[in-house]
Every structure is written in C-alpha cells, then in structure tokens.
Symmetry: C2
C-alpha cells in the first residue's frame, strides 16, 4: 500500500459530517481492511457532475435516465474509479488480497442476493428515515433531496412520516423487518455471530450501515435509536458496538 | 442408514404424479444425499388432517389460522416428523452428517435469506403458474386448490392468467426475475457454477424446483418451457439437466 484511496461521501450538519448508509458501507469496508483513505465531501447536486468528471459509471437507470450515486472511490495505486458499494467491496477484495475478505469463498452469489432482500425487507423504514435525513442535510443537498424524494413519494416530505395510530403500526413493521433479519442470523448461529460465520462480511456491514444511519439522523437520545438498541435481545446493539472501531471518518 | 424415510407429497395427473415445487426441494435433497425414502401421496384436503395425525407442525399462520403444508417427512430411524423444506434440509444435514451438505459452513443465514428473496423476485410467476397447476390436479385437490387460490387472488383462476398484450408484458417480468437470479449467479462464478460454489446447496435446489415445476405443469413441448430453457445463455437448461439425476420419484 502506498497512496490513500479517496472515498466520495455526502456531507451533512451532524458531527463528523457522514450520515449516508451507502457510503457508510464502503467506510466500514475500508476501515475493516485497514486501507488508508481520505474522504472527499460531495453535495447531492454535485454527484452527477463529479461522477462524470472522474469517470464513475451510473449505478442505476431511473425513468430511462442514468442515475449516479455515492459511494464512489478513486484508487490512485491502480488509477481505478468505481461506484456502488458492493462493486467497490469486490474490487477491494481482489486488489488487496492480503486484507480481510468481505466476500469469503462460496458467499459471492448469496451476499449479492442478500442486499436487495434486506432492502426489500426494510421497506417500511423509508417513510420514517428519509424525512429525518432531510433535516440533517446542508442547504444545497436539502433542496435536491426534498425535490427528488417528494417526487418519489408523490407528497411533501413532512406528510410522508406516518402520524397518529399509523405511526405505531408502521414503526411495528420496521421492527418486524429486523425480526426477519434476526431470524436469518439465528439460523446461522452455528456458523458464528455474523452472516457468513465468525468474521464480518460485506452483508454484515450493509445491515450495520442502516442501523448506524438511525443514530446519525435521529441521535443516540432518540426513541428510534433506543428502540432498535432494545430489539432482538440486543443483537443490533452488539453489532453496532462491535463495529464502532470501523466507524472512523477520515 | 436402515429404514427408508417417508416423504409426503401432493399427487397429480402428470406421469410420476409429482408436480409441486416445495416437496420437489426435499426430493432433490434426499436423492442428492442418497438417503432411501418412499413417497406417500396426500391430496390437498388431507394435508391438515394428516399433519395433525403424524404431529407435523403448521408451517405458517394465515389470517390467524395455522396453515399446514407439504413437504413433510417421517424418519423412522429417529422417530422424527418434520414439515417445511428448509427445516427438513437442516435436519438431514445434522442427522446424516456423512452425506453431502445442503448448508455448507458459513452459508446458513444467507441461504435462509435467499429463499424469501427468490420467492419475492418470482412474484410475476404465480399468475401464470397457479392456474396451470390447477389443471393437473386430481379432483379432490383441484376443488381445494381452486377455492383457496381464487380467494387469494379475488377472482376465478381462469381470469388470473394475463391475456392480450398483458400476457407478453407479464411474462417479460418472469424473464426479468430470472435475469436477476442469473445476475446473482454471475457474481458467484469465481466460486463455482452453484450458489455457494462448486457443489449444489439447498438454495440451488430451491431455484431448480421452480424450473422443474414449469415442465410438470406446462410440459416439455410448451412455449413456457422452451422459453426458460433459452433464457440466460442456457443457465436454467444446464441446471435442470445437471439435476435430472436427483429428480427420481420413489
């Protein structure tokens, strides 16, 4: 290893600036592997121009248009630019084979299947978490985030959050989603505490990144954070505490 | 190994009687492991009384009522009754440790997460496959299946199958679902041709069971079967041909 990699992440008003679960996956991966890097902060409206400038490919197509997103990395050691956290994790495994593996042998296909399964399972979360996210963004990102997410939901962000009895019902669905993931992990307890066994893998960092997001958008004193820390016999509390050493933002 | 296990499966009018993807998973598992067994055929209305009689637990709760389903097994060597294909696979791995593993170490949690992810991905399939299934059932099962599935869809089975331009659009969604699964498998090609590497695992038999179902309900001369055999550079054709040796119904 010689030069530090660059991690492109989205800033906010929270201490340390980082808040976004997707770049968090890559930060966990880089810290877990002990690879030196530094963060470059990119506000939402600048993601597409930056991606085009450095040569990062779109990570999706929405309504027929290419969609650019972070995380992206630049690795000066190989002159490689890459976007999308799973692709970045595969790249880091292949390029730095002496660092701990994010995709242990025999888990590539299943970990790639896990990510959309986990996101689908969490579908009740977005109505709570996206409006809360908007509250912590810097002004240029806030304007962009509000416009795009209000188009997605078809209503004002303030009206997206469930209220009254629906708030409890919908929050119970978030808990039910974590119950499902807890069930998968229980099935694997003979292998170890993590999704692929005794050591964390990419899929564990995916799960942890969304829990970490709770703390960033609601804070450690919030009922949301206290709730999730109490769920599933403290499984998520143990997970996030175990990964604190990989949370460092540099 | 001494006495053969019993596999409880649902009969039909197709040659060999077997047609149902869920018991097919267990048949693949038993044949793959080389465990002797014999099939006992149970029509749909008899599944709940049979399950209660032998002591098989419900596999789900629907509308607050316990739901009994097949496959179930009885293992006379350990006096064990068990329902639900993933639980049965775990049991077979644990009870017959000298047979090939369905859950290699480090894949338990991810394989359990894979099954619902795969089912969710296939959501466009049911509108085609459930009415076709109804056509091959014996009379007592046909009456039961029609009543329960028409309640599920809220319309007659004959009206569930898309027609006109919707037929092509919806069938394209079935292909898109297999494209997604193909994408996961491509990500794992460095590990081997199967979901966890060089040898089949439970999740591979889950995928194959739904493809095998196509052949049973539509036949090998149908456009549906020829379609899927042509998809994804012949991946499903190779998979199902490779598993033919585990299709034997005894």
């Amino acid at each position: 290893m010689s030069e530090p990699l660059i991690l492109y992440d989205i800033p906010s008003t929270v201490p340390g600036q980082a808040w976004s679960p997707n770049p968090c996956k890559t930060r966990y991966c880089l810290n877990y592997k002990g690879l030196p890097y530094k963060t470059v902060w990119v506000e939402y409206p600048d993601i597409e121009p930056l991606s085009k400038k450095i040569g990062a490919l779109p990570t999706d197509v929405t309504n027929g248009k290419p969609y650019y997103s972070l995380p992206a990395i630049y690795d000066p050691n190989t002159k490689t630019v890459l976007a999308e956290s799973a692709l970045i994790a595969e790249y880091l495994d292949a390029t730095y084979p002496d660092t701990p593996k994010l995709f242990p042998a025999g888990t590539h296909a299943l970990q790639h299947a896990f990510v959309p399964a986990f996101m689908q399972t969490l579908s009740a979360l977005w109505q709570f978490a996206l409006p809360a996210t908007n509250n912590v963004l810097n002004p240029p990102s806030e304007v962009y985030f509000r416009r795009t997410r209000e188009a997605m939901f078809g209503k004002k962000l303030e009206d997206v959050v469930p209220s009254g009895p629906a708030a409890n019902e919908e929050w119970a669905k978030v808990k039910a989603a974590f119950d499902i993931v807890d069930g998968w992990l229980q099935k694997g307890e003979a292998d170890g505490p993590y999704l692929t066994g005794k050591e964390p893998a990419f899929a564990d960092f995916v799960v942890a990144s969304f829990i970490w997001w709770f703390k960033k958008i609601w804070g450690a004193e919030s009922s949301q954070w206290k709730d999730i820390m109490s769920w599933n016999n403290g499984r998520w509390e143990a997970l996030i505490k175990g990964f604190e050493k990989y949370e460092t933002i540099v």
